[in-house]
Every structure is written in C-alpha cells, then in structure tokens.
C-alpha cells in the first residue's frame, strides 16, 4: 500500500513496511517518525526484562513494563491487555512481536492516563474522615486491603514501610505524596 511507504519500522534488523498500518488508517497520525520513536522506547523497556536476549519476557513482568512506559492501567485493564498479547496456549512468556503493536497503540492512544497529583490527593482525602491530614494505619489497611483492587500483604507492608510515621502510627498523606513524586523527577 503506497500510502504507507513512509512508515519503515526496523525490527530485528529487518525492514518491515506498514507494521502499524492498521493504526495509521484508523486515525490520522501526522508524525510518522514519532511511531518509530515510540517503538524504540517500548523495545528498550521490554529488553530490560528480557534476560536471555531472546525477545521474550516473563508474563508477570508485563505490568512493570507497561507502567514504566508512563501508563497507569488498573489490574483489570492489565489483564485485558495481557489477553491481547498472550499466545493462544499461554506459555508464561510474552513475545515482543505481539507486545509491540499492542503497546504502540496504547501509547499512541494515550490509554491508561497518569493520575495527577491533585486527584491522588483527593483520593486520600476522601478516606480521611475527619479531614485532619492523616489516615490511621488501621483505616488505611482496611481500605486498601479490602476495597478497590486489594493490596497483597506484601504491597501493604511495603507502602507502610515508607508512608507510616511510627510515632503516630498514621500516614500523613500530603508528605507521603510529595516524597514519592520527588523520586519520579
């Protein structure tokens, strides 16, 4: 298809035309070079977890890869995504071949948008009954291990190890958020 001659994707050293043809025809993409750049980013993130350098990663690492590319999928959304990239007979491994086009679409569509700081703050505030700027350990544990997409014990303990002020046995969430945001910059 001649309209796609501009899109040249270098994958495993082979030049494959129209790798993203389906995306191009469904929406208008003015910067074709941007697709190549996105793909490079994805491949880079994928390869960090590809221990044997054979273009596969353990299925349990997909969440880390997707998130480290800047996306905020919920666990449910992650499962949906996995269904698209798994083999017919799930082997426990995901191939780059399948992952790349799916993830490229995710990034182009800007799916799973980031949670802005103020939205996060509101979320904590919503759980702070008395609006006093902190949530007790018990309350936090109750909410996060019973509601939403519950934390595992390990996740809960880890969050507390950073967030909990041992003297008051509570989480001052504004401070916690600020601290975590700094890490990201």
């Amino acid at each position: 298809n001649s309209s796609c001659n501009d899109i040249q994707v270098s994958f495993e050293g082979k030049r494959t035309f129209c790798k993203t043809h389906s995306i191009v025809t469904s929406k208008i993409r003015p910067f074709y070079g941007a697709v190549a750049e996105i793909e490079k980013k994805i491949i880079e993130a994928f390869e960090v977890f590809d221990h044997e350098c054979n273009k596969t990663v353990d299925v349990r690492e997909i969440g880390s890869i997707v998130r480290s590319l800047g996306c905020f999928p919920t666990e449910a959304e992650l499962h949906e995504l996995l269904a698209k990239v798994e083999e017919e007979e799930p082997t426990g491994y995901i191939h780059l071949e399948k992952f790349l086009p799916v993830m490229t679409k995710v990034l182009l569509d800007r799916s799973y948008r980031p949670i802005p700081e103020d939205v996060l703050l509101h979320a904590f505030e919503a759980l702070d009954e008395h609006k006093c700027g902190y949530i007790t350990k018990e309350e936090l544990v109750k909410y996060l291990t019973k509601e939403g997409e519950p934390f595992t014990q390990e996740e809960m303990e880890d969050m507390l190890s950073t967030a909990l002020d041992p003297e008051t046995n509570s989480v001052r969430y504004r401070d916690y958020i600020s601290m975590m945001i700094v890490d990201e910059t």
């Binding site: 490079k40 960090v48 934390f151 990201e184």
Partner: protein
C-alpha cells in the same frame, strides 16, 4: 475541622482503586530502576571481562618469542625444596613477633585452628604471613593428589551443601556457616569456585576454606572458578588486596597462590547409591568418552584429551595457571599446542553460561566460553548418565536460578554483589535423595533494614556512578559522535540521537532513552544538552604537558595497562624501566589503533619518572588516571 460522614462504599472503592493504581505504578517504576541498575552493573562487568580476554590476546601478540607456556606456568615458585620441608623452611625464615596476637597455626591443622581463624577474622585480624605460606603449601600438597573431578557420596551423610560464588564477601561465608553449621564429616560442603576478587576479604575466605580442606579433605570440596586465575586477580582486586595486607610477603604469597589455584579440581561428582543424579555441563563435544555411572556437579568437568581417567593421580593432571591465554587470536604464529587445546576446554568449562536456546554458540557477552542450550545438556546427561548440573559463575538476583527444565541450577552465594541491596545470595541443601532445597539470605550493613525504595536508590546511584566513569573515559569519542548529529552546532540533539551515539561508542546494551535524564541535562523542549554528561567528572590528577586525548586513553585502559605491566614486571618489584614502558605503550597503542605522537609519549614518560632513575613505579603512575566525581569530592572535603 469539619467532620464529614465516612466515605460511602462507592467513594471508598474509587479512592482505593486510585491509590492502589498509583502505588503499583510507583512500584513498577522502582522495579524498572532496579532492573536497569543491575543491567548497568552486569553489562559493564561483562564488557570488562571481554576486554580482559582481549588484553591477553594482545599480550600474546606482542610477545611471540615468549613461549606460551612461560606466561602460563609458574616461573618463580621455588620448586627446588622438597615439599615436606616447606613448613620448617618458613618457620626458619619468617619470624612471628610476640606482639602478634592473631591465630598461630600448627600443622596438621585441627578444628581448634579453624575456630581460631574464624574468630580472628570476625574481629578483622590478619593471619600472619608465615602461617599463610605454610597453609598454602600444605593445601598445594593436598590438591596435587586430587583428581580433576572429585567424588562425594550421599549414601551416609545427611545433607550436602553446595555454595556458589563468594567473591571475597566474608560476611556471606560467615552467615552460611552460622545458619548451616561448620564443615565436618557430618556436614559436607561443595564450593563452586570464584572465592576471590571484588570483595575485600578474598584472602580470609581462602584461608578458611583451605583450612577446612586440610582438616576434612573428603568432606569439603573446592572447585575452581574462572576467578581462580592470577590474571583475573590482577584486574579484579585480589592481587591488590594481598599486596596491601601483606606488604613484605605479598609477592611470595601471590606466587604460591597462582600455583595452588592451578591444582584446584574442576568439578565434583555426587552420587547416591539408590539413584543416579548427575550434574555436569559440557560445552563442546567431549574429547574423551568416559563411561561412568556418575553425577557430576559444578562447573564443568574437564574432558581431557589424554586417556587417563579423572581419578588417576598427579601424573595425569596438568597445571593451568591462567585460562586467559586460550583466547582466540588470529594471525598468531603459535605452534598448534596440545596444551593450548586443553586450555580452551577449560576456558569453556569455567566461562560458559546456560541459555534457553538450543545449540552451542560463542559467549559474546563474556568473550570466552559459550552459551549452551537444553539440547547440549540433554545430550551430555545421556552420555554420562547424569541427572543434574549445579554450576555458578553467573550473578542471579535471587541467589539461584533453575533452567533447562530443572536440569541446570545456577547458585550464587555472594549477596549484595554489586552494591548493598543489589541481590540475595543462596546455597543448596541436597538431601540423600539429592533433591535440592534452596536457602536464601542477604547480609546487611545497616542495622535497620532499608526499605525497597531506599535500596533501589542505593544501587541506582552506584550503578550510575560506574556508568558515568565509563562515559568520561570515552569523552573524545562521544563528543565527536554527538557532533555528527548536531549539524547546526547548537550543543543539543534529540534523545534518540543521543541514545544512538551512546550505544555505538560505549557498546553497552542499556536502556539509554530511559537513562538520559539521569546522565545529562535536558532542555525544556526535550532535547539533550550533550556536553553536560561530562560536567561533574574529571581525571584524578592533572597531568601537565600531555595531550588530553592521551590522558583519556590512559584512563580508559588503566586496568588493562596495569595487568600488562604486572606481567612484564617479572620480579614483582612494582617498577619497570622507561624503555620497557615506552615500548609496551607504543605496541599497545598501535594495536588499538590509537595515534600516539612520539613527542607526547616522551613528555609523558619524562613526567612520570619522578625519581629520574630510569624506572617507573607503574602503580603510582596509573593511580593518577582514575575518574573522580567532582560532587563527591566536595562532599568528602
């Protein structure tokens, strides 16, 4: 404050989902940072190892008239004296002052001696050089009589413990002994080599292991790793450690160690009378077929071209002081050397890694040995009736890894190998049925255990520091690579171009796009100010009147040069003549394709002959060429 009713179910659910989602995002970021930090450490280490083998082939290229065997055999260990007299010789020649409060060993060693050693080392004492030399002599005598492949049977002991790389981490060894008990007839151990280098207590680990070997020669098995090799030790820190700790007798100790390492067995076979279980790995088609109902453990048994079977005595066993001479070098006019072939086999044995792809391909990461697939393992097991291979040599974040459908286990016992918090160590307990059980651990220098975020922060900054040093050592090359993308001379290029330049110059497969913000400054519109990655670094000491490019080259190849000089310096004086230095440098530079003008070389040589006595203290000289982090210097001053 106003008090509002507790959140309704819906709000709570929504809020919880948001918080959990965000939290999982930060954890994923943390995991990514942890992974790429380990990636940085590993790829730099492997690139280093490649250089190592390259350096050695370079050396061979330059000294064609030195017989290969000369470099690889022990030239100056005095063979003259009958070994039995060694103990008394050292006693006569080396005096132990009354002021020495460390352990005083008496041979033959007993458990009391071992305990005294453990106690001393816990208190950071050194063993006196005389006892070290005596211990090494005795160890050599015992090892000489062992075959290349030793045997262990589970038929009557409770469990056998297998440990992997320790790399000078004494704390790990002490922790293993604490958790698992000291070696004895009832508590048998196999150690898979790589006892030394990188950590700061390689000497103490060897002393302890050799002591137990002498006390329980049938119950403690030590196998050779690729780091039990004096050339590796020159590069990776063991030689330095010994020289520092033993100023008067260091060279003697190192000489003897070279010899001792060469007599270490390569593998241990573990068998049970009920079931045969084998551990063995073979990289290339075996030269000799051995028909044994055995299990082989550990790295790789040697498949020697000779017809002797492995448990024959000394006569059948040859020494291999260093494996690094077996590297491929084209254009060499060395005669086809059967010893060289054997070296190649042992190189394969001690350097190879398992991979999930079938076949046997050259190990590009390390530059030596190969990658072997499940089919190679299967063939091997079938041929020798084996069931499992336990090997080491490869860093594993969890201390162990199982591959090839459970047939190959990698065990790595040095926790915090790259940095505090980088990984766990592990050991294996084999019951009489030879079913493995893994025990993991991690030593920590902090009294309060760091949480994950802090640990990742520590290893990340350590990894980036290593990477920055490498970047700085390639400054000129990088600058010209960047310039090629910066057509308008703005000093800025796209992230993509910057990543491409970094990858092509440094030859490290790292996630450059992800790392760019940590290594260089970015402009508001997302471009990279490429010269900014050099801002915070400089070379240790300013060397006057020498071209900056020359300085940079010396910086980059500092470790290689250290090794080459050490090899030239046959009498281990730490000094080489100006002429030797000049010659070597010229050859080295031309081999690398570096342009070195004679004048600048002369200037350099003059500038470093501080005493004007025609000799150069090369260690002092090379010290000047290490990369310093400006910011760190400020913090320390």
């Amino acid at each position: 404050f106003l008090s509002s009713p507790s959140p309704n179910a819906h709000t709570a659910h929504q809020a919880a989902i948001l918080i959990q989602n965000w939290y999982r995002f930060t954890m994923a970021r943390l995991e990514m940072r942890r992974r790429y930090s380990l990636s940085i450490f590993q790829s730099i280490e492997y690139a280093d190892e490649q250089d190592q083998l390259q350096v050695f082939s370079t050396l061979l290229f330059f000294f064609p008239f030195v017989p290969v065997s000369h470099i690889f055999t022990s030239p100056s260990v005095s063979q003259v004296v009958d070994e039995g007299l060694y103990l008394t010789e050292f006693e006569k020649k080396i005096d132990v002052p009354d002021s020495y409060y460390g352990p005083r060993l008496s041979f033959p060693l007993t458990v009391e001696d071992a305990n005294a050693l453990l106690h001393a080392f816990r208190n950071e004492q050194l063993l006196h050089a005389r006892y070290v030399l005596q211990l090494l002599c005795e160890t050599r005598r015992v090892l000489k009589e062992m075959p290349n492949i030793t045997h262990l049977s589970t038929s009557y002991s409770k469990e056998i413990t297998v440990c992997g790389d320790l790399h000078g981490n004494l704390d790990d060894l002490l922790l293993i002994f604490y958790k698992n008990g000291l070696p004895s007839e009832q508590n048998r151990y196999v150690f898979n080599g790589d006892f030394v280098d990188r950590g700061k207590n390689s000497m103490e680990i060897l002393i302890i292991l050799f002591a137990f070997l002498l006390i329980y020669p049938n119950d403690l098995h030590l196998n050779r790793g690729n780091h039990e090799d004096y050339i590796m030790n020159l590069r990776y820190g063991f030689t330095k450690e010994v020289s520092k700790k033993y100023k008067d007798h260091g060279q003697q100790i190192l000489c003897l160690l070279r010899d001792v390492f060469s007599w270490l067995p390569l593998a241990t076979i573990i068998d049970s009378k009920d079931r045969i279980r084998g551990l063995k790995s073979l990289m290339r088609p075996p030269k000799s077929v051995r028909d044994r109902q055995d299990q082989l453990k550990e790295r790789i048994p040697t498949t020697r071209p000779s017809k002797h079977i492995a448990n024959q005595n000394v006569a059948g066993k040859t020494q291999h002081i260093s494996l690094l001479g077996s590297a491929e070098h084209s254009g060499s006019s060395l005669p086809p050397d059967p010893a060289l072939k054997e070296w190649k086999q042992i190189l394969d044995i001690l350097w190879s890694d398992p991979r999930s792809q079938n076949g046997c391909t050259p190990n590009k990461c390390r530059g030596g040995g190969c990658y072997f697939g499940p089919d190679v393992t299967a063939k091997l097991f079938e041929r020798y009736n084996l069931k499992m291979l336990i090997r080491s040599h490869e860093f594993k974040p969890e201390g162990y890894e199982i591959s090839h459908n459970g047939k190959v286990i990698t065990i790595f016992s040095a926790s915090n190998y790259y940095e505090e918090g980088s990984n766990r160590g592990a050991y294996i307990k084999l019951n009489p049925e030879l079913i493995p059980r893994f025990v993991q651990y991690q030593v920590s220098k902090y009294t309060r255990r760091q949480n994950l975020r802090e640990r990742v922060g520590t290893i990340e900054s350590s990894a980036l520091k290593c990477l920055r040093e490498k970047i700085y050592a390639h400054r000129s090359e990088l600058t010209s690579a960047f310039a090629q993308y910066d057509l308008n001379g703005t000093g800025r290029i796209s992230v993509n171009d910057w990543a491409a330049a970094m990858e092509s110059v440094l030859q490290l497969e790292l996630p450059w796009r992800m790392l760019h913000s940590q290594l260089a400054q970015t402009t508001p519109d997302g471009e990279v100010d490429f010269m900014s990655c050099f801002y915070d670094l400089k070379i240790g000491q300013p060397i006057k009147e020498v071209q900056p490019a020359l300085v940079e080259t010396l910086c980059r190849y500092r470790r290689d040069l250290e090794i080459i000089f050490n090899v030239i310096d046959k009498d281990h004086s730490g000094l080489i003549s100006l002429e030797e230095f000049g010659q070597t440098w010229k050859l080295f530079a031309s081999h690398l394709g570096i342009d070195v003008y004679d004048e600048s070389l002369d200037k350099l040589v003059l500038s470093i002959d501080y005493n004007k006595d025609g000799h150069i203290d090369f260690n002092e000289f090379l010290e000047a060429f290490h990369v310093v982090h400006r910011l760190e210097k400020k913090a320390n001053s």
